[in-house]
Subunit: 275 residues, 2 copies
DNA sequence: GCAAATTTGTTCGTATGTATT
DNA sequence: CAATACATACGAACAAATTTG
C-alpha cells in the first residue's frame, strides 16, 4: 500500500477544507458516514481524524461531531517601543509593566494582572547563565500572570540578582505590583540604568502548567512562545532576566525599525505561499 | 475511569523522561514489554506512545524501538543588525541577502542558497494587503531556498509591486541572485531608499511543501516560524514584503536594543520555569 | 426533567504489512 | 532468511458527552 488508507482519507478531507468546500467552523461528516463513504473501519476513519487534528485543521467535540477550526485573530505584542528612538533609549526604556498596559489599551483591549508571587531561589539554568552568576548565588524570582479582556495572556517570570536587594532594592522581594515598573525602580533606588537588552524568541511545547493556564489542549499540539529578555546596565552587567510565555496560536510579535507608517492590527490571512 | 489508561501510562513514562530516569536518546521498553508491565493491550500502549510523540518527548523508529528525543541546538537569527544604529538606518539597511551570509558566517557555519525562482502573480492576500495594492495589481514574487551547512534553513518569498519593474528595476524579474541585495539595487536604480520596516513573527503548522523541505514529520507536530517583513521608502510607501519560513525546533530569533555585551550563541537549557 | 438517540472516546482482540537487525 | 519492533487495518464492546424528543 503506497499511502495508508487513513492518510488518503485525511488528505481528501484536507483538500476539501483548504479549498473551502468545507467551511470554517463547519461540521465534517460523522464517523459513521465517513466509514461508508470511504469503505473503512471506524478505527481507520478515527486515525484520519487524529491526523487532521494534529495538523490543526479540525477539532472534535464529544457528543457533537468534528468541526473545521475557526481562525483566531492574533494579539500583537511589540518587541520594542514603536519606534525605537535614541531619546527613548536614553530614558531607560524597557520596563514591561508600563509597556504591557499601554500596549493592550492601545489595541482597545482591557489589561489585567494579578499581584506577583515572589520567591528567592538558588540561581540555576538560564537564570544563572544570563545573569552571569557563578557558585552559590541567589536570585529574586517574580512571577506574574497577565490577562487581556479576562482571558489568559502571558506568564511572566523575572529573575533579579539577589545582590540588588542587598544593595537596597528591597521592594523587589515584596509581593506587590510595581506600578512604575521594576526597571524604573532600580534606577531611582540604585541609580542602575538599563542601557539595553537582548531578546531571544523561541517556540516549544507547553508544560502542564502552561497548558492549563492558557487553556491549551493537554496534548501539546499548540506550542508556546518563550521570550527571554536580558537587561544590562551601563557597565554591561546583566540587571535582570525576564522570561515570558505566550500561547502561539493567538499571539504574534511585531517590531519596527526606522520610519514606518502607523501600525494597524494586522489580519494574517493566506500568505500567498512561501513554498 | 478518572484518567484513561493510556494517559496513565504516558504520564508515568513522561515523569521518567523528565526526571532523567530515562536518558535523552535512550530507548524505551518495547511495546511488548510495556503491555505486560502495565497490563494493557498493545493498542492502549500505542495510544500512550502517540501521546508522548505529540508532546515531542519521544520518537519511534520502525524495526528499532521508541527513543527519548535528543535536544537540538538552535540556530540564532537576528531580527535586526546588532546593534541598530542611526548610521545603519541611514545606509538603508535591511537587505536580507547580505545579512544572511554575514550572520551565518559569523556563527561559524556555511551559508548556501540557490538561485531564486521568479514569478509574476496577481496581488492577493497578505501581499496585496501589506503592499497596499488595490484592484487588479501585480507583484513580482521571488522565492529562495536557503541552507546552512547543507541543511535546509529557510524558505523565503519576497513580493515587490510590479510598478517597480515598469519604472526600471528590471533585474527584479530575472531569476538570478542579487549579490548586493535587492534593497540596495532599488536604491541604485530607482533612488528608492528603504527608510524602515515592520517585522511580524507568527507560528503555525507547516504545509506539505515546508514539511518536506525542512524534513519535518508530515504530521505537522513541529510548527514553523513565519516572519513578515514589510519595507517602506522615505514616503512611507511599501517597497516590498518578505515572508520567511523557518522550522521552529531548530531556530530562534535574537534582537538587541541599546548597548549590550557581545552576543554568544546561547544554550537554551531549562528555563527555571515560568509556571 | 428524563429517556432515547447520536456522536465521539477508550479499550480490547486479532491479523497482516514494513523496516531493521 | 529469521527474529524483532513498529505501522496499518479490521471488528467489537462499552463509556461519556451532547442533543433531541
Amino acid at each position: 500500500m503506497a499511502t495508508p488508507k487513513y492518510r488518503v482519507i485525511a488528505n481528501d478531507l484536507r483538500s476539501k477544507i483548504e479549498s473551502g468546500e468545507l467551511e470554517r467552523g463547519g461540521q465534517l461528516p460523522t464517523e459513521g458516514v465517513l466509514q461508508k463513504k470511504y469503505a473503512a473501519s471506524r478505527n481507520t476513519v478515527r486515525d484520519a481524524m487524529k491526523w487532521l487534528i494534529n495538523l490543526g485543521l479540525v477539532q472534535t467535540r464529544p457528543g457533537q461531531g468534528t468541526f473545521v477550526v475557526e481562525e483566531i485573530s492574533p494579539f500583537s505584542t511589540a518587541l520594542t517601543g514603536i519606534p525605537v528612538l535614541p531619546e527613548e533609549l536614553e530614558a531607560g526604556l524597557g520596563g514591561e509593566r508600563d509597556a504591557y498596559a499601554a500596549e493592550v489599551s492601545a489595541q482597545g483591549r482591557d489589561p489585567d494582572q494579578q499581584d506577583p508571587t515572589v520567591e528567592i531561589q538558588k540561581a540555576i539554568g538560564v537564570a544563572a547563565q544570563e545573569l552571569q552568576l557563578v557558585g552559590e548565588s541567589f536570585v529574586v524570582v517574580r512571577h506574574q500572570r497577565r490577562y487581556i479582556d479576562g482571558a489568559p495572556y502571558s506568564l511572566q517570570t523575572t529573575f533579579y540578582p539577589m545582590h540588588l536587594v542587598e544593595e537596597g532594592a528591597t521592594a523587589l522581594i515584596q509581593a506587590q505590583d510595581m506600578p512604575s515598573g521594576a526597571v524604573r525602580y532600580l534606577e531611582e533606588k540604585l541609580g542602575l540604568k538599563q542601557a539595553g537588552w537582548i531578546d531571544r524568541i523561541t517556540v516549544r511545547p507547553p508544560d502542564q502548567n502552561e497548558a492549563e493556564f492558557f487553556g491549551l489542549a493537554e496534548d501539546g499540539r499548540i506550542a508556546v512562545f518563550e521570550t527571554f529578555r536580558t537587561g544590562y546596565d551601563d557597565a554591561l552587567r546583566p540587571l535582570r532576566l525576564t522570561v515570558t510565555v505566550y500561547a502561539s496560536d493567538r499571539n504574534q510579535f511585531i517590531q519596527t525599525v526606522g520610519r514606518v507608517p502607523p501600525i494597524q492590527t494586522p489580519d494574517p490571512g493566506p500568505s500567498g505561499g512561501a513554498g
